[in-house]
Symmetry: C2
């Protein structure tokens, strides 16, 4: 799949009618090089699980379409979260601002970075469509995939909106945060990629439901692991600052559990520190201490364990090919036991 992306971007790079296209496609190429490729992997596995057949080439293009879509989602997400780093490098808006700052003042450069990243995100979304249109799917396959892709996009965006809407207003409601996870991660990262691959292979409703039973608990576990990595991970390995989520005051299951278990002193401290854009490592340590003291960290680990079990049980019952079940078991481990 990396070749499909590289070839696609190289063609953009060689388009000499547009002065800025080589710079923009190079930025996307570098950005794409850091991904975990979990959605492409799931898409191809979903196709294999239904006995997709020998001609894997169109699926590779569809997988590339999902990875390009994910680049779009991350570029815009980083703008909205005002994040500095992603995949171990400066985010796109910071990179483009820095490029601009060579010739302009810092404030103008910063706004240029935001605007240019919004545009580059829009462009990658269009490129994602182009990859799909050129994938060589049959009309029936395209017709099966398109509504699912539209669902995936809408669910992600509404999940992001839920998330954005809740940011800055800390909640102790664990179920509400899990609802955001369902849309923003479980459906987007796990269920829909599987569904899209399976639909292209001609899956019926029963198989689609089996994917859902597996995907939703796994996706929630994946996001719960992400939350822990955002606070406890090694920035050198995750490629993300350990302060971003805390400074943004993101509602996570971790913060919700901590708030629901905190005494009044701890609650006051959490409300003061979470969402403070100037939070430093010392403040972050205090927050981490409260996460431990309220057993929120343990609670999230237990939630992950429960969901892993649910996902594996669903897999044991699913009408998938043996190869695909083995692959999905491995993906389950990768998604849940990881350090980046």
């Amino acid at each position: 799949m990396d070749d499909a992306l590289t070839d696609f971007l190289a063609a953009k790079n060689n388009d000499t009618t547009q002065a800025h296209l080589p710079y923009l496609s190079q930025l996307v190429r570098e950005f794409l090089s850091g991904g975990k490729r979990i959605r492409p992997l799931l898409c191809v596995t979903g196709w294999q699980a239904i006995g997709g057949g020998d001609d894997v080439e169109p699926m590779v293009q569809v997988a590339a379409c999902l990875e390009m879509f994910h680049a779009f989602a991350l570029i815009h997400d980083d703008v909205m979260d005002n994040s500095d780093t992603r995949r171990g490098r400066p985010t796109i808006h910071r990179t483009m601002a820095a490029h601009r700052a060579l010739s302009r003042g810092p404030e103008e450069a910063e706004w240029f970075g935001v605007s240019a990243a919004v545009l580059l995100g829009d462009l990658t979304l269009t490129w994602s469509d182009e990859l799909l249109h050129k994938a060589g799917l049959s009309p029936a396959q395209l017709e099966a995939a398109l509504p699912l892709l539209a669902e995936m996009r809408t669910e992600l965006m509404l999940g992001q909106y839920l998330d954005l809407h809740a940011t800055g207003e800390l909640t102790a409601d664990v179920d509400a945060t899990l609802n955001v996870y369902r849309y923003k991660t479980a459906k987007y990262t796990i269920e829909r990629p599987l569904h899209i691959g399976a639909a292209i292979a001609g899956a019926g409703p029963q198989a689609m439901a089996a994917f859902t039973d597996y995907a939703l608990p796994l996706g929630e576990a994946f996001q719960l692991r992400d939350d822990l990595l955002g606070v406890y991970g090694d920035p050198l390995i995750t490629g993300k600052s350990r302060l971003d989520d805390l400074r943004a005051g993101k509602n996570t299951a971790l913060t919700a559990l901590a708030l629901s278990g905190a005494d009044s002193g701890q609650t006051a401290q959490l409300r003061r520190l979470l969402g403070d854009p100037l939070l430093d490592e010392e403040g972050a340590d205090t927050v981490r201490g409260i996460f431990e003291a309220t057993r929120a960290r343990d609670g999230v680990e237990r939630m992950i364990d429960d969901r892993r079990e649910q996902a594996l049980n669903a897999l044991a019952r699913a009408p998938f090919t043996a190869d695909a079940v083995a692959a999905l078991e491995q993906i389950t481990r990768m998604a849940i036991v990881r350090d980046s």
Copy 2:
């Protein structure tokens, strides 16, 4: 076509699985109610020009897809330009910020507005795709339309990027500004909508070239008229402030002509006033005075006349149905002689 958009958004509005969807779809509905519908009109006319046939219903859906795409483009454009008003109302990011400000501080509300408008733009882009997928086109028609839609999107985004890149650095190079107009307006607003309609009707390369010959001069004239309206128009009729373009320091053919004809005193004044975010009506009057004194305003009017003539000549030679030629003549007048 308005019915197609209204029905589509009403279905989103009734989707009770997503708490925020009614609010978001209502915002889009209000936003869409103010448009001039020039792209949908051109798309259907392009289809008729090739003798598209009796079943106009799929074309209405495709036209709705273009109008929804345009909503996406404007919502993001207004974020990038930091504009206050659009179509006589507050821009989407201002509206969403104001909604948020009821419960939060002004700075947080402002950033929420920007983020939420980026997301709502992304959502309308996805909805635009959905309208196309549900249009009921045949596989062959879809295959003809998709590459042109992708071209249209890419051209617009690269045109926007050119524009963004040039903002804040005033140029006296009229040709460079016309190059931006070609991508950002002439191809996007005129040529591609015609091409998409025509391709769905099965147009051959000769007819496609004839559309291009008509569309590019008309599109440049359309944008040149827009520039004049941005500086001289009546805000109550255009729905846009007469200060936004000047404050943003937008490079227009008007500013380029003025700079290329200005003496050193006028040049210094233009460089001081254009791009000043606090420019007031008095400063704007000074700028307008220089546009008159350097005959830049007259020059733009002459450029519009030249292009109208080119477009009408191209139309006279084009292999289109007589009805379509008459409609395109009328569209030419509407696009060039207008006050909003």
